[in-house]
């Protein structure tokens, strides 16, 4: 096998950059630290592309499909005799694909941030955190074992926390970062429990061993059952819980919209293109186990994905903050990917859903990063997040306008842009497996087209808003990434994923299914048309439509009150009904018992201390009485 040892530098370089910028950042010039971070990332982007080329087109994998290559592995911590946590690099189709996605988007965001964050306080801190994030995310995707994945899983969580709370003097940002961390941490608890159950039964963390169909994971599939489901099913459901949290699926999605408090490049990188798809990646990584030993868990994946995509799409239609609309759209698209995995089988054409999911992950990363960066350029120009403050911006921001339009068309699934191809594969996979889910996804496709163009028309067309100062196009550091990503959104659809990234590593035949594609384009066009009617020119129609749905609209506008449920659980249940009583109990029962013992002792001693009054005469009296009595005793009785 070709030597891939150099890939160790792909995660290591950002880490060194993080240490450099984190420790010495305040001594460097702000601009220099930004350039250093970007240069470091550029190097690993080149390395990643080189790796991808070598891996996919090295010509050695033609016959038996793409193999998993362990490029590097070292023991980090020994646990039991069999279990040990390793750090290493595992190259297989999905990890190589993810390397390309992450480094591309991350590089774009780095370049973009040079312009976007210019003059901000903490510029070098921002780049240090970005490097930390890149390190963690790259470490996550190349993980050779599930515990390494968990390690980096936590690290991406904390870099997300740090970046959401980048404006740490802003209370809303602080709240959002805290919320993101705690919600995902709760989901990670499930992940950890899943790992514990899995490793207890299989005695290994290693992905290659775990996903080997003749390995221990599969011999366990029929063993001990608990509450009607096998142990493997339980562990997979728990592990999936981690993915639900990180990928902001229902019901752990609440952190994602709030996470938009972070700087916009961060939203593009972490909360759209890379970190939030970690859940999808996790399921894909464990896919053979899901598919072959825990089909029930896979159904859970499918239904959670489908429900989340519909749920988020409905909410997205009512929101007015552009970043929040995009956040819900992200959630909806990730729901698509989860659904595709959930309906997929293992191997050959059965694995269509798997391939479609990865394909969509890839294209989604491009166009969603583009949408967010475009949104950043708009916010940069208008100084507002709210789309009701905008309108007619196409004159002021021509480049942003064009790239944003491309992105909107892509996400809506208009051929021949990349979104069309990947979404079509997902729909086809759903059609072959579950008609109900297929119907839901059709509906979501229409909704997606509608809310994206609602956003587009309200921002770039619609009423001619009067601005305090004329909006101007962003500097070229910001527009160049936009253009690159726009090109990416257009061309990535032509990558033959069915030959490269498949569930078992072997290529299979896949064709465009016109029976699926034509209706889906029509649904998308219908959504766009509806948005055109409502939002192209200012009119009273949107309010009328909202009035027609009345309660439905209100519920959706308030995000179905899920946040309120969370606040109730944390503020009321945990704080008021668990913690406060425990704290009270500790002070007034446990501690009071100790104090009671002490005060009882003290009381008793007060009672008996009169025996020792300190008056010699009393003592002498007792003494003499005793002496006399002893004398009498000896003289008269003991003779």
């Amino acid at each position: 096998m070709t030597n891939f040892g150099y890939t160790i530098w792909i995660p290591l370089l950002p880490f060194l950059m993080f240490l450099l910028l984190g420790l010495a950042g305040n001594k460097l010039k702000a601009k220099l630290s930004g350039l250093l971070g970007t240069a470091g990332l550029a190097v690993i982007t080149i390395l990643s592309y080189f790796t991808a080329y070598k891996y996919f087109f090295g010509g050695e994998n033609a016959e038996e499909g793409f193999q998993k290559i362990q490029a590097f592995n070292t023991v980090w911590l020994n646990l039991t005799d069999k279990l040990h946590i390793d750090l290493g690099i595992l190259l297989d189709p999905i990890s190589v694909m993810m390397l390309v996605v992450i480094t591309t988007v991350s590089l774009m965001v780095h370049i973009y941030s040079l312009g976007y964050m210019k003059g901000e306080k903490g510029f070098e801190r921002f780049f240090a955190f970005l490097s930390l994030f890149s390190f963690s995310m790259l470490g996550l995707v190349v993980a050779t074992n599930i515990f390494q994945m968990y390690i980096f899983w936590e690290l991406v969580g904390v870099s997300s926390f740090l970046l959401i709370g980048f404006y740490y003097t802003k209370p809303s940002a602080v709240r959002a970062s805290k919320k993101a961390f705690i919600v995902t941490r709760f989901a990670d608890l499930g992940f950890l429990i899943g790992i514990l159950i899995l490793s207890f039964n299989t005695k290994t963390f290693d992905f290659i061993t775990l996903t080997d169909p003749s390995g221990p994971a599969f011999s366990q599939s029929t063993s001990a059952a608990f509450m009607g489901l096998s142990v493997m099913t339980w562990s997979m459901i728990f592990i999936f819980m981690g993915g639900v949290g990180k990928s902001a699926m229902f019901p752990f999605h609440v952190w994602l919209p709030d996470a938009m408090e972070g700087p916009t490049p961060v939203s593009a990188l972490i909360h759209a293109a890379t970190m939030v798809v970690a859940g999808v990646y996790l399921v894909a990584r464990m896919f053979p186990i899901f598919s072959l030993t825990a089909p029930v868990a896979l159904h859970v994946v499918a239904y959670v994905g489908a429900f989340s995509s519909l749920f988020a799409a409905i909410i997205a239609c009512t929101q007015t903050d552009i970043k929040r609309v995009l956040a819900y759209s992200t959630m909806s698209q990730i729901g698509y990917m989860m659904l595709a995995l959930g309906v997929s089988g293992y191997g050959g054409h059965e694995g269509l859903g798997y391939m479609a999911s990865m394909f969509h992950l890839f294209t989604h990363a491009m166009f969603k990063a583009l949408l967010f960066l475009g949104a950043g350029a708009i916010i940069h120009a208008v100084h507002s997040n709210d789309m009701t403050d905008m309108g007619g911006l196409r004159k002021y921001l021509p480049i942003t306008h064009m790239t944003f339009l491309i992105a909107c068309l892509t996400i809506a699934g208009i051929p021949p842009l990349s979104g069309f191809f990947s979404k079509d594969e997902i729909l086809a996979a759903a059609l072959h497996s579950n008609k109900l889910l297929f119907a839901v996804e059709y509906l979501v496709a229409g909704l997606t087209a509608f809310y994206m163009f609602r956003l587009y028309f309200s921002i770039f067309w619609g009423k001619d808003t009067h601005y305090h100062h004329t909006p101007h196009e962003a500097p070229f550091t910001m527009t160049i990434p936009l253009m690159i990503l726009a090109v990416g959104s257009i061309v990535t659809g032509f990558i033959p994923f069915n030959e490269l990234v498949t569930s078992d590593g072997k290529p299979f035949e896949s064709e465009l299914e016109l029976m699926v594609a034509i209706p889906s384009v029509l649904v998308a066009l219908f959504g766009i048309g509806f948005a055109y009617l409502l939002y192209f020119k200012t009119n009273g129609l949107p309010d009328k439509v909202a009035g027609f749905f009345k309660y439905g609209y209100k519920w959706a506008y308030n995000k179905f009150y899920i946040d309120e449920v969370y606040i109730f659980v944390t503020k009321q249940v945990i704080f008021r009904y668990i913690s406060t009583p425990i704290a009270w109990f500790d002070r007034h029962v446990v501690d009071a018992t100790m104090n009671l013992i002490a005060s009882t002792t003290q009381n008793v001693s007060f009672r008996i201390r009169d025996f020792q009054s300190g008056q010699i005469q009393k003592y002498a009296f007792v003494f003499i009485t005793g002496a006399v009595m002893l004398a009498i005793l000896f003289i008269y009785f003991l003779n």
Partner: protein
């Protein structure tokens, strides 16, 4: 002079030197030098230990020395170390030096303060090197007593009350412990012959099970009081809240570890049969500690109280893991002792420094300190992240080793309790982030706090030493984990002999 005795001799020499100093300013310098030498010595010891092990020395204890000092009861000054004690000695010397630098500015009765502090350290070092139960107990008491003076004289708030409570509860624990130790002593020769206090010798025989049933709980609870075992933990919040900075650091960082180490070295090692039999009771108690401490910390208002409850939770995890009685969990317990020692010392150091500037410890009165004192705030965030188990810092390594180890227990009951204990990681995140958000982030609320000075050089030394250690263990845990693991082997073998897993 053997290297181990130096650990007791150097602090005593330092104390003597301090006694004869004229200039008060020199007191702290001399203390720092003395403890610095101690730190170097600890590094040398670790090196010597690893070299000896590397060259194939498989003795249970290394550098063993034995002098009899009370013949009629067969009490020896017997010393020796294995990987666990070496690790604990390393921890102690780091925390002590950090504590010395953290109390650089103590004005009131400076000489006496440093003497008490170093006396406490002497006791701790002596405890870790002893392998004779009586000598061990002697050093244990030596470490506990100066605590009363340190809190009662240099403390804040209701210091006499807290000091009294702490000392009395610990003394109560000692009383149980002494009973337990004597019980072991009188059962140390079941077949007749010389009674002994020597741990190595006792470990070779089996104490009669009837005696174990009585003396295991006594010993375990006796050490457990110091290890903040629920419900004997209530000295901890009051004691920590009233103690001066360095004392909190030493107490939570090192002294509480005496409890865990003792419970492990004496209670479990010498009486594994009873431990096996009774572990379910203590597993419930310790799991309660873990969750209860974490929930208790959520609603506290005083920084030190939060940390004290968090210590209850983390130290509960130590005892919890020890009771799982397998190699991985025990390894995790030792790692957790070290990790918690370092990071809680770091926490208390930072809290002390923040208190020294703001003159309040109530989180509601502070806010937005990140902008004012960035160095201390960033360090506080790092300590917080270590505490909530972020990979790359020591807490993660320890907790994961414990969880994986505990989950290997063959009985489902224990695995279920483990899942309960695992859930504490979420609660920990809640209270840590709550404090960080209120205390450090957001706008600066109080106008008095806008011009606070950031850390001075000695404070930086103190904090950076601890963070360095926390990060070093977190990034490269393998050597430490292996060093502990090898030393656990005899204990595990002994346990396996009675309960084949």
């Amino acid at each position: 002079m053997d290297i181990l005795s130096l650990f007791v001799v150097i602090p005593v020499l330092t104390i003597t030197a301090i006694l004869f100093l004229k200039d008060m300013k020199q007191v702290r310098v001399v203390s720092a030098i003395g403890m610095g030498v101690q730190l170097v010595l600890a590094a040398v010891l670790i090196y010597m230990y690893l070299t000896a092990r590397h060259s194939g020395n498989t003795d249970e204890m290394l550098f063993v020395k034995d002098y009899i000092w009370y013949k009629s009861l067969n009490i020896h000054y017997a010393i020796g170390v294995d990987g666990i004690s070496v690790a604990m000695i390393g921890l102690t010397s780091i925390v002590v030096i950090a504590g010395i630098f953290a109390s650089w500015e103590v004005e009131y009765l400076r000489r006496e303060f440093f003497i008490s502090l170093i006396l406490l350290a002497t006791g701790v070092f002596g405890f870790f090197i002893s392998i004779d139960l009586f000598t061990m107990f002697l050093f244990y008491e030596l470490a506990v007593i100066p605590m009363y003076l340190l809190i009662g004289i240099w403390g804040t708030g209701p210091k006499e009350y807290s000091a009294m409570k702490l000392t009395l509860m610990l003394m109560g624990g000692s009383a149980l412990l002494l009973l337990g130790l004597l019980g072991i002593y009188f059962n140390s020769a079941p077949g007749g012959g010389q009674l002994t206090f020597n741990i190595l010798e006792i470990s070779k025989i089996t104490i009669p099970i009837a005696a174990q049933r009585i003396f295991f709980p006594l010993t375990f609870v006796g050490f457990g009081v110091l290890g903040a075992l629920f419900p004997f933990h209530t000295w901890s919040p009051d004691g920590h809240a009233s103690a001066p900075t360095a004392v909190s650091m030493l107490h939570a960082g090192v002294l509480m570890k005496l409890g865990g180490y003792g419970a492990f070295r004496v209670a479990i090692f010498l009486m594994p049969e009873a431990a096996k039999e009774l572990s379910w009771i203590f597993i419930i108690l310790t799991a309660t500690s873990v969750v209860y401490g974490a929930f208790g910390a959520i609603v506290q208002k005083d920084l030190k109280y939060i940390n004290a409850y968090s210590s209850v939770s983390h130290c509960g995890l130590v005892l919890f893991a020890i009771l799982m009685m397998n190699k991985t969990a025990m390894n995790g317990a030792v790692l957790q002792m070290i990790s918690h020692g370092l990071m809680t010392a770091l926490f208390f150091a930072l809290i002390g420094m923040i208190y020294g500037r703001t003159h309040t410890r109530l989180i509601s009165e502070m806010g937005g300190l990140m902008k004012v004192i960035p160095f201390l705030s960033v360090c506080y965030v790092i300590a917080g992240l270590a505490s909530l188990g972020l990979p790359g810092l020591s807490g993660f390594v320890a907790e994961m080793t414990i969880f994986v180890g505990a989950f290997q227990h063959p009985e489902p009951f224990y695995r279920g309790v483990t899942i309960l204990a695992v859930s504490s990681i979420v609660i920990t995140a809640v209270y840590i982030l709550r404090v960080v958000a209120i205390l450090l982030l957001g706008p600066t609320t109080n106008d008095h706090f806008t011009h606070l000075p950031d850390a001075k050089w000695y404070e930086k030394i103190s904090v950076v030493t601890l963070i360095g250690a926390v990060a070093a263990i977190g990034l490269a845990p393998l050597w430490l984990s292996n060093m502990i693991g090898i030393s656990l082997q005899p204990i595990v073998t002994k346990i396996l002999a009675i309960t084949p897993f």
